[in-house]
Symmetry: C2
Subunit: 245 residues, 2 copies
DNA sequence: AGTTTACCCTGAACACTGTTCAGTTCCCAA
DNA sequence: TTGGGAACTGAACAGTGTTCAGGGTAAACT
């Protein structure tokens, strides 16, 4: 409504505030602080009091801007989607586009400590996030998926995303703050655990010990993704019936 | 060990306890009580104090039998798998067997309120649960899946299970205790929400409004499952190349 | 100018949570 | 009868989310 960049005419009183005194609290600043606390303390110790302390403010001040801790978490969830890139659907490249989407999602979930635990039980159906869902659906539609498959494909993908990343960070959490060389030690220990099982009772687990906890989470992620993509592709009544026949 | 129904011979000291006094606390009884509380109060209100109250016992008594609330939750998780039926692998029927496994899992996750929230971040790698994992892997192995695919297939399936059921119960929770006719109202409201979106900006969402929140969660579940199964099947160098050709 | 209004924030409180620990109680064995 | 030892109690501690009556400041009005 007002045009903030216009110079103030001299007959109007100049704005009183010479020093900004206190930077006013905003939802954005609160979410920023919350992410700072999350990265430092982890999800379990992310409390309203910690966030308030981070801002140098009383706890109750937060409740002026945010109804709930639940709402704060929802705001943090929304932020995960800011700047998400979803290209315009290209029927010929739908697999690559979905792959990009998933990789981007995983990267974001890993970019803040325990971010996945916030994402976990949430569904991107708030007004701010619906455009993202719509774009994803558009990719599916362009690919030629049937309606019913489209309606479940998004769930399938996002549950895989959340679930996979959650498992990733759980393994990390179980070996907490072991410093830098933790991953190596960790993996050897877990591999050792599986490999040391009685092979007569657990032949498959023993045989897979090397892969199940493997250094290349990336590879396992891509493989799971590929399985989903192949499953989806099988529903496309393709004009290209040249399937290995 | 003892035979409780035999009369006590008079030369033996009759058991001192005329009144059974206290039934001793056991892990089993604690888990029972915890499930009672869970069903009545939901996951968020499942507290050690509530469990203790359910048993008519002081809170601290629980900690004699259980290290943690975390351990209690783990015990509850383990119980979900008791009586799980996993048949011996039958290469010709691996799809049906996996389907059964998933359906059974969903049924169990829905059989107690919020049970899925306990399952969520957990991985069935405790000693009691490894046999189940092994059996599932055996089915995959019999199907002829490559090693790497086997190693991710379990994750894929269980994250889909947890994720799908979680979404199911979240929708229910958002319309809390609305009595019996809630589902109908609920669905209409949600469908209305999606259907009322501006169709120019959300064409796909609007078009799918009827399916996305549909009465047949069962159907959507089966479809997602089928997508996974088809994806897995595509990795089988099948001796049966009679795919719809 | 002085007064009022409106807002943002403070401090304290409430009802919870998980967990610990010094004691009490009680049963079984010697 | 007399331990001994396990099982349980009651109280406490530190922390949680949330509310609410009150400050204190800055703008708005008379």
């Amino acid at each position: 409504m007002t045009q903030p960049d216009m110079p103030t005419p001299p007959w109007e009183r100049p704005p009183r505030r010479r020093t900004p005194a206190r930077v006013p609290l905003t939802r954005e600043r609160i979410v920023d602080a919350a992410y700072t606390v999350l990265d430092r303390e982890g999800y379990d110790r992310l409390s309203m009091r910690q966030v308030a302390a981070e801002l140098g403010v009383a706890v109750s001040a937060l409740y002026v801007h945010v109804r709930d801790k639940g709402e704060l978490l929802q705001l943090m969830y929304n932020r995960m989607f800011e700047g998400y890139e979803l290209p315009d659907p290209d029927p010929g490249r739908w697999r690559e586009q979905i792959r990009d989407f998933a990789r981007q999602g995983r990267r974001r979930l890993l970019s803040h400590r325990d971010a996945v635990k916030i994402s976990l039980g949430r569904v991107p159906f708030s007004p701010e996030l619906l455009p993202h869902v719509e774009k994803l659906l558009a990719v599916f539609a362009a690919a030629g998926l049937p309606r019913e498959v489209m309606a479940i494909a998004g769930d399938l993908l996002s549950t895989y995303l959340d679930g996979f990343v959650l498992e990733e960070v759980l393994w990390q959490d179980r070996y907490p703050e072991s410093g830098g060389k933790a991953p190596q030690e960790m993996r050897e220990e877990i591999q050792g655990y599986f490999a040391s099982l009685p092979p007569d009772r657990f032949p498959n687990l023993v045989a897979l010990a090397d892969i199940m906890v493997d250094e290349s989470n990336d590879y396992r992620f891509e493989l799971g993704l590929e399985i989903i993509l192949r499953g989806l592709a099988s529903y496309i009544a393709g004009p290209d019936p040249d399937e290995e026949s």
